[in-house]
C-alpha cells in the first residue's frame, strides 16, 4: 500500500514495513519511530545502521545475533526499542521484517 511518510510517497507492506529500501531516508525512519513511540537518539541510529549493514550483507537477524554483535547487548536492545525490539528496529531501518523465531 502507498503512504506518505515525512513528506515522501513510499510503498509499505501490510505490517508497515518499507517494500523498497531505496525509498528509505533518516527522516522516514524518524517518522516510523515516532509512530512506535520512540524518540531517536544517536545510540538508536548506531543500532539502526548496524541492522542495515547486516541485512545488506545478507546476515539473518536474531536476538542471538544481537548478543554476538559487539554493538549492544540484549538488555540495551530491549531498552532502546521496547515492545518487540527486532520487529520495531527493522521497521525503522526500512528493512524487511525478520522471519526468525529466535
Amino acid at each position: 500500500m502507498e503512504a506518505v511518510l515525512a513528506g515522501n510517497k513510499v510503498n509499505l507492506t501490510e505490517d508497515g514495513y518499507l517494500v523498497d529500501f531505496s525509498q528509505w531516508t533518516k527522516e522516514i525512519g524518524t517518522e516510523i519511530a515516532k509512530q512506535e513511540g520512540i524518540e531517536m537518539t544517536d545510540r538508536h541510529w548506531e543500532v539502526i545502521k548496524w541492522i542495515q549493514e547486516q541485512v545488506k550483507a545478507d546476515n539473518a537477524l536474531s536476538v542471538r545475533g544481537i548478543k554476538k554483535s559487539g554493538v549492544l547487548d540484549i538488555k540495551e536492545f530491549y531498552a532502546l526499542f521496547p515492545g518487540g525490539p527486532l520487529k520495531i528496529s527493522t521497521k525503522i531501518a526500512g528493512v524487511p521484517k525478520p522471519k526468525s523465531c529466535i
Partner: protein, 158 residues
C-alpha cells in the same frame, strides 16, 4: 495489524527432555520479541534445565516417543538417547539455536522471569547454589499464580 490481546505468558516446564525445554524457551523468547511479558516456572523434572551441573546434558526422549520413528525396543538400547540428542543438537545449531546455558542467559537478558518451584526444590534436596545465577527466585505455586496479575495473561503447561 492490531496489537495482540495477549499481555503476559506464564509457562510451567515440568519435563527435562530437550524438546520440552526448548519449546518453553522458544515460546518465552518469542513472546518477548512480540512485546509480551513472559515467565517460566520450573517444576519437577523441569528443574534439571536450571541446575548448573545438569542443564547442558538434557536429552531427547527416544523411548515412548512415536515421532522418533524408531521401535521402542531400539530406542531403549544403550547409546541411542545420546545419539539422537547429538543429531538434534546438530540440526538446532544449523538454525542458530543457542545451547541451553546461553538460551537461559538470553531469556534473562530479554526480561523473562525464571522461577524455581519450591516444592520440587525441597523434594530433590536442592538449594539456590545448585541453580543458575540468573534465577529470579524460588516460588510456591500460589506465588506463581499471583503473577497472573493482569488481564490477557495465559498459562501454559509444558
Amino acid at each position: 495489524m492490531g496489537k495482540t490481546v495477549i499481555k503476559k505468558m506464564l509457562f510451567v516446564l515440568s519435563k527435562a527432555t530437550l524438546e520440552n525445554a526448548y519449546a518453553a524457551f522458544i515460546m518465552a523468547n518469542g513472546a518477548r520479541m512480540e512485546g509480551i511479558e513472559a515467565e517460566i516456572f520450573f517444576t519437577f523434572f523441569g528443574l534439571e534445565a536450571i541446575q548448573t551441573k545438569k542443564l547442558n546434558k538434557l536429552s531427547v526422549a527416544t523411548v515412548g516417543n512415536p515421532a522418533m520413528h524408531i521401535p521402542t525396543m531400539v530406542g531403549g538400547l544403550p547409546g541411542m538417547e545420546g545419539f539422537a540428542t547429538k543429531m538434534m543438537k546438530k540440526e538446532m545449531d544449523k538454525l542458530d539455536m543457542p545451547p541451553v546455558d546461553e538460551f537461559l542467559e538470553i531469556l534473562s537478558a530479554s526480561g523473562v522471569k525464571l522461577w524455581a518451584c519450591k516444592l520440587a526444590v525441597d523434594m530433590f534436596h536442592l538449594s539456590e547454589k545448585d541453580l543458575i545465577e540468573d534465577l529470579d527466585g524460588i516460588l510456591t505455586i500460589g506465588d506463581f499464580y499471583n503473577r497472573a496479575d493482569q488481564e490477557g495473561t495465559q498459562l501454559l503447561f509444558i
